[in-house]
Symmetry: C2
DNA sequence: CTGTTAGCGCGTTCAG
DNA sequence: CTGAACGCGCTAACAG
């Protein structure tokens, strides 16, 4: 009754061969313009839709992309996944998700499943793979699958890369505060010193200001002792208070850290942003802080979109030999926690 | 060279017919125990792995499950998705994700893609479908796909449901505070009065205490005026302060609201939890508050696991005619923001 | 330009 | 119990 109609059906209806129809649709073989028209019309009439799945069996590629991402409790990758899917959907591609345990051994299984499903392209998110997996990724290329990664260095000329400009983000946020007349700006780091801090230092130096970083190296308070970076930065600031209490602005190396700063300042009755400005990175908690936190928004949504686009591009125009590398910028989201410096 | 070996290969190797091998593997037709052994051995030897994709073309079902979820910026569903995938992977099923815009019209496209991909089962998350879509879901059943939903009422006897026990959660959290000797417990609601509030009221009454709810109906401060529930609850409490300042405990109808409460209490120099306890629901921001917030953890991870299991169960034992309905419990996560009541 | 002949890898009839 | 035959829906190499 509601049976799906196939190429055969439209071939019968037109007294043609199914393969001719196939060519008319794909445009691969040579078909007369007239029959192409007829086929197109019959397609409309009968409401035919090509079965990509069946087609996948013979071509070896299904209209599906995949994301491989690390198992984490945070769910931080949600915007990436969402925009990746949205972009894929525009091109009528589905999106399969594979989680891998960092340091786990299920990447192998994942790669098997990718192949089995005839996935056309896959993005490996930062944390899902390490350099030791690179050989496997390169081997995966032989199956004709499109590949890219985020936050990884160059792996292969046929693997694209998406990176984030942490340094520029650090620079811009610092510059923003400098332009608000702040001079005494403290950066609260983490033992893992990312490019964000480098950007901060660069900005401070280029404006002739003295960088002050706490929490980067041998502070008595270590983030590894905490399950929460917020509490870490709170305790850190508490301990280093004498050293930094004259600061008119704090930058947390991420929003968790920035929140710890805010908590401590409130406790010290330092008004934000009247007496002191606070800013962070990632833009995760803007809506749950009072005042709302100024933050450099991590371009995850954009990343998802670009990743899918890169895959699609490789799939449709399969030129080989050059890896494109995208460097995505953060975006300053200026909210209530930062303001013009005022002397007291 | 590295060619995938097929049933044909193992048939050749055993001088058998391909279809006999197929039967030996599936156990459907009748095959001698001896040849089954031989086949199993050859499978090991040659490293054969069944191609589920190809098999999907003939059976009409691929070893893939799907989740349909609403496009939202929050990414709250991440734990659900992650555990769903983890469960699916155990059974060698893949997971396809489809986002739909609430009130958008791409659900139709999504259902088409589900069918095209020969998805074996699908979970529709709360917010992705509304009662007006039910006819489409029921029609989808005809394709032999397994279906369940979360936070939806009964739809069809062949569609399972997962629900969350909001009332019990409200009750338990309130009871927890009562057992800490609190008597004056205020519930900060939202215009949408969920079961959480009902549970609160029920608990208060059953302990002979007077429920006090603010923010539920005609308060001058309306959540719709805010993009952030945190700011809403902060302002609300500010305005109603005279009425509730004697409370020894506050319950926010979710963690966003609870954070607004915390912010205001800090500003009023009410010490948490010494002078006043605060608790919330969902357990989203535990690690970024100081003190850490006591909260009823929303069983999203469990939901993901159960949803996948329900699908798998329907797929493998295809009995029809009874819809199972799961009611999942929240879990009290007792942290620093709640403490025994002490008179001042 | 069209149709023929072969598959892709597997499942489900039927005879033998 | 085994094998032969047909089909899932589509693509790709040839001939006509």
């Amino acid at each position: 009754m509601d049976k799906n109609i196939t190429m055969q059906d439209i071939a019968d209806h037109l007294k043609l061969d199914r393969t001719t129809v196939s060519k008319a649709i794909s445009g691969k073989g040579s078909v007369s313009a007239k029959t192409i028209k007829r086929v197109q019309q019959a397609i409309e009439e009968l409401g035919y839709r090509k079965d990509h799945f069946a087609s996948g069996l013979v071509t070896g590629k299904n209209t599906v992309l995949a994301i491989v991402l690390p198992e984490m409790k945070s769910g931080i990758y949600a915007p990436f996944v969402q925009n990746f899917q949205r972009t894929a959907r525009k091109h009528h591609y589905g999106v399969i998700l594979y989680y891998v345990e960092p340091q786990g051994d299920n990447l192998t299984l994942t790669l098997e499943m990718l192949k089995q499903q005839r996935v056309s392209g896959v993005t490996f998110l930062s944390g899902a793979t390490s350099p030791s997996d690179d050989d496997n990724l390169i081997r995966l290329l032989d199956t004709g699958i499109a590949i890219n990664t985020t936050t990884r260095g160059f792996i292969h000329e046929d693997i694209d890369g998406i990176r984030y400009n942490h340094i520029k983000a650090g620079f811009e946020l610092t510059e923003h505060l400098v332009k608000l007349q702040h001079k005494n700006i403290v950066f609260v780091a983490n033992t893992y010193s990312s490019g964000r801090m480098d950007g901060y230092k660069k900005a401070m130096q280029s404006y002739g200001l003295q960088p002050v970083v706490i929490g980067d190296k041998q502070s008595a308070v270590k983030p590894s002792d905490y399950q929460s970076l917020t509490k870490f930065s709170y305790d850190l600031l508490m301990q280093e208070w004498d050293r930094v209490k004259d600061a008119s602005a704090f930058i947390g190396c991420n929003d968790d850290v920035a929140l710890g700063i805010m908590h401590l300042l409130k406790e010290k009755n330092v008004s934000i942003p009247k007496d002191c400005s606070v800013a962070g990175f990632d833009d995760l908690y803007a809506d749950v802080t009072i005042p709302q936190l100024t933050s450099m928004r991590f371009p995850l949504s954009e990343g998802g979109e670009k990743a899918a686009e890169l895959l699609l591009k490789r799939i449709h125009a399969n030129e080989k030999g050059f890896s494109t590398s995208l460097l995505l910028d953060y975006e300053l989201i200026d909210r209530e926690s930062t303001a013009m410096y005022t002397a007291h």
